[in-house]
């Protein structure tokens, strides 16, 4: 597991993603909440944070969380997502060979929170790192969902003078949060 994690981290960081790893869900949650506060998430346009429903949230008191962090909402609409600084979602798999994250994205809120805000925080269970594309396609298959997304680093372009520039239409920051503790996933 450590070797695949290391390979994933190497690849993901090479495409400008941030990679963090926590042993427990509570440690990961604390990191995320602190990050939201430090980044200035607030209850005003362009400062919101939107969190798409996911297994990580199971059993947590969402109302309480939203009350503690003004501007954080679990009710994802396109208007809210477009006015958010941060979007949070859980991804189903990680692919070590390219540092990519993989998700069944048929529910639209998963795509809204990971594309419209400036920053995307992506939660993944550490045990769900797979080595490569064939391994991923043995787990996610188009026969079972109408929209599968692979996300590899933040949005980027090199269209002006071939200079790599991060953050075009999607997020300019991708923060990947691995959680070792199992049971927080579907």
């Amino acid at each position: 597991m450590q070797a695949t994690f290391d390979q994933f981290k190497l690849r993901a960081e090479a495409v400008s993603a941030e990679v963090h790893r926590f042993p427990t869900r509570s440690a990961a949650l604390e990191f995320i909440l602190t990050y939201l506060q430090e980044t200035g998430v607030a209850d005003s346009p362009s400062c919101y944070a939107v969190w798409a429903d996911c297994p990580f949230l199971r059993g947590l008191n969402k109302q309480q969380l939203a009350a503690n962090v003004p501007g954080l909402t679990f009710d994802v609409t396109r208007e809210k997502a477009a006015a958010s600084k941060i979007g949070i979602s859980q991804l189903d798999w990680a692919m070590a060979s390219t540092g990519s994250l993989v998700q069944d994205s048929a529910p639209v809120e998963r795509r809204l929170v990971s594309t419209l805000p400036n920053i995307h925080i992506a939660i993944v269970e550490t045990s769900r790192i797979l080595p490569d594309m064939p391994a991923v396609f043995s787990k996610v298959h188009p026969g079972r969902t109408n929209y599968i997304s692979f996300i590899t680093g933040p949005s980027r372009t090199a269209d002006i003078e071939r200079v790599l520039t991060i953050g075009v239409h999607g997020p300019e920051k991708l923060i990947i949060v691995f959680v070792d503790e199992t049971g927080s996933v579907n």
């Binding site: 690849r11 495409v15 609409t77 396109r78 477009a82 060979s97 390219t98 540092g99 990519s100 994205s105 048929a106 529910p107 639209v108 795509r111 809204l112 594309t115 419209l116 594309m133 064939p134 396609f137 298959h141 188009p142 026969g143 969902t145 109408n146 929209y147 599968i148 997304s149 692979f150 996300i151 590899t152 680093g153 933040p154 949005s155 980027r156 372009t157 090199a158 269209d159 002006i160 003078e161 071939r162 200079v163 520039t165 953050g167 075009v168 239409h169 999607g170 997020p171």
Partner: protein, 710 residues
């Protein structure tokens, strides 16, 4: 060649932003592409792609039906048509029915192929490209100059100017700020648009699936925010099974942008819910536009294996000088020339096909294993058949095809040039020929051609015999190269003969599309070379070697001259290029190098045909090293020198800057000598160095080895 076309070439060549950006990119591309492929067996991957896409190209109808059935079973609409007009009408009709006022698009070559944007705009619908490069080009009212990097010809200052003029005044030439500006401006369009149009990189029949790759995230927004998603897909994007996407997704990002994977990959297999909970309207337009017809053409079917990575543009020595605009059409570069001939019209490729110098770089890099230069030659042939040869071409070939006339003309030329000759170079030629020496000196025609001098060369009696095929350049300009070959083979116990009936190898005719002429050359040569009982047929010109070994056969095959094939094959089996034969003789212990020689630094230039058709880049290096030379590799050693046979006469304005790069790379090694195996390259490079006064020796490998063997 029309004046307008020549002018567009010159305009491109004189645009330092374009040539600078493309030049730097092509250099960086090779390095980063190689890095992206580390740990990946490119040959295995592209063999898989060629096989899977080749299969799809022979089963287009069946795959279309399966794709349609699968997609429609989940609620999408699939519309297949051969007619670009019907694609446009379908989209307009759909837009009108749904009261669409704004459309956002992510990159789709297929939509550009059918000129969709102007059609919809004329109907009063706002169409916004959202890929940054495409948006810039759209605002500027231009055409993309590169398939993957549409705005590579523009500087940040020009982009800032375009944004300031067309969108909002006062934009600074700061790339990060320009990107942020574009994000802000286009965000509103994404949110407001009622329809989104994308292309697709792959369409899977087995599962009814579209695969779309982007880096900016625009395809993700285009397929998420508007309530209608239309995907325009060329039917060559179909593959049979979902597993087929793996090799394509392994190669496409690596070859296109040297990435392991693009930032976003969307795999769409049916309608998904909209943000208001309604199901999305998903329409897939499978566009044929002559692709089926192409799949029935035995030669051009392979062009459907293209994954649109544009690596053939990135490694092309000509494209990096002229860029995409000279192609005048949507698809550019090598593959673009071929696609234009089909999607537009054969005659639309008449001029642009002449840009190909036939160096073969693109084929080496193509993830679809498409023989791009071979197909361009085939276009040339078909165009030549359709419109016939020009009078000048006819005159040349009637001479080339008449051995006696050809040779006596060359002899006459040797006398006529006398007053012009100095140090073995022609510096000034009269009349129209003067253009030919503008950027390089031409060799003087030898006083006595090799064929006339041959009988006077003393040779020992040997058990084995080799027939020497000289080719025009060695025969008439560089007989000394031939003499070196004879000397070396004699040392191995091989007597060399010079079959008198040999004539032009046919390459000039073939490269002009005049296959009948080339076939006549082939027949004459086969007769001449097979009459003598020899063990080897050797040539010191790689282009001639390729003709003898491969092209005679290919020519007969394409002309259906099956009766000539057995003799062509019999000849091919005996044919060797100089270095490969000498390497074999050294390995057999029949040739030994003098011991302990330190001959100094040489740099080696790979000739296109030797490296990429004959696959013999190592033998000359190995032989030179064994002789005692130290090889100092030049940058881009295997990049074309710009000769390309008659190419350098037809397009000297392109040949010259290609040569210029080569000369710089040679000089940068600091070597006193540059070696190569091709007399054509010697002519180009020696002439170039002479013209610019550099004192670097340019030698055929045979000449460097002749004195170094026991």
């Amino acid at each position: 060649m029309r004046k307008e076309f020549r002018e567009s070439i010159n305009t491109a060549l004189q645009n330092p932003n374009l040539t600078g950006a493309l030049g730097r990119f092509s250099e960086a591309y090779r390095v980063s592409r190689a890095k992206a492929y580390e740990g990946v067996d490119f040959e295995a991957v592209r063999t898989q792609i060629a096989e899977r896409k080749g299969y799809a190209a022979s089963h287009l109808d069946e795959l279309t039906d399966r794709f349609t059935e699968n997609m429609e079973s989940r609620g999408a609409k699939v519309f297949r048509t051969d007619d670009p007009a019907k694609v446009r009408e379908y989209i307009l009709d759909l837009a009108r029915k749904n009261d669409v006022k704004t459309i956002v698009k992510s990159k789709s070559m297929a939509s550009e192929e059918i000129h969709l944007n102007p059609f919809l705009e004329k109907a009063g619908i706002e169409v916004r490209e959202t890929d940054l490069g495409e948006w810039i080009v759209q605002l500027a009212g231009q055409r993309p100059s590169h398939m993957v990097m549409p705005a590579i010809h523009l500087t940040k200052e020009e982009v800032a100017g375009i944004f300031s003029d067309k969108v909002e005044e006062g934009q600074p030439p700061d790339i990060k700020k320009l990107v942020t500006f574009a994000r802000g401006k286009l965000r509103g369009k994404f949110l407001a648009a009622e329809m989104g149009i994308t292309g697709a990189n792959i369409a899977v029949a087995e599962t009814g699936t579209l695969v779309i790759v982007t880096n900016e995230g625009n395809a993700r927004l285009v397929s998420t925010l508007p309530k209608i998603h239309v995907a325009i897909v060329g039917i060559e994007k179909l593959v049979a099974e979902f597993a087929d996407v793996v090799p394509i997704l392994t190669a496409l990002p690596r070859s296109a942008t040297a990435q392991l994977l693009t930032s976003y990959l969307s795999i769409i297999s049916g309608p998904v819910p909209n943000t208001d909970g309604t199901p999305k309207q998903l329409h897939i337009i499978l566009m044929d536009n002559r692709r089926t017809e192409m799949s029935h053409d035995p030669k051009f079917k392979q062009a459907l294996q293209c994954v649109r990575c544009a690596s053939c543009l990135n490694v092309c020595p000509v494209f990096r000088l002229v860029g995409g605009h000279v192609f005048g059409k949507i698809y550019t570069g090598g593959i673009g020339t071929i696609l234009t001939a089909w999607f537009d019209a054969l005659k639309a490729s008449d001029e642009i096909q002449s840009l190909c110098i036939q160096c073969g770089n693109c084929t080496e890099m193509c993830p679809g294993k498409i023989d791009i230069p071979g197909l361009i030659l085939e276009l040339r042939r078909r165009i030549a058949v359709e419109k016939g040869q020009t009078i000048a071409q006819k005159a040349i070939f009637s001479v080339v095809n008449n051995r006696r006339l050809f040779h006596s003309m060359l002899r006459t030329a040797s006398l006529a040039q006398k007053p012009l000759k100095k140090d073995g170079f022609i510096r000034h030629l009269p009349f129209f020929l003067s253009d030919m020496t503008e950027f390089r000196s031409l060799p003087a025609i030898a006083d006595v051609p090799l064929r006339d001098h041959f009988t006077k060369i003393e040779q020992p009696e040997c058990k084995e015999k080799a027939a020497f095929y000289s080719g025009c350049l060695i025969d008439f300009a560089y007989p000394e190269m031939g003499e070196s070959v004879i000397k070396i083979l004699n040392k191995a116990g091989i007597k060399v003969t010079f079959p008198e009936g040999q004539t032009c190898c046919g390459a000039p005719a073939r490269f002009s599309g005049a296959y009948e002429v080339a076939a006549k050359n082939a027949e004459d040569n086969i007769n001449a070379l097979l009459t003598e009982d020899v063990q080897y047929v050797v040539s010191a010109c790689p282009t001639c070697t390729v003709a003898l070994k491969h092209d005679f056969i290919a020519n007969f095959e394409s002309l259906g001259k099956t009766e000539s094939l057995p003799h062509a094959r019999q000849l091919a089996a005996k044919v060797y290029d100089f270095s490969s034969l000498v390497k074999k003789l050294v390995e057999e212990g029949r040739l030994t190098f003098k011991q302990g020689k330190e001959l100094g630094k040489v740099t080696y230039h790979d000739s296109c045909h030797l490296k990429r058709t004959l696959r013999a880049s190592e033998p000359p290096r190995e032989l030179l090293t064994k002789a005692g030379y130290e090889i100092s590799e030049m940058y881009e050693a295997d990049m074309c020198c710009g000769m390309g046979g008659s190419y350098s006469l037809k397009l000297p304005e392109i040949s010259a800057p290609i040569l210029e790069r080569k000369l710089t790379n040679i000089k940068d090694t600091g070597a006193a000598t540059v070696a190569m195996d091709c007399p054509g390259c010697v002519m180009q490079i020696r002439g170039g160095l002479d013209k610019n006064g550099a004192k670097i020796k340019v030698e055929h490998t045979a000449q460097l080895l002749a004195e170094e063997l026991e």
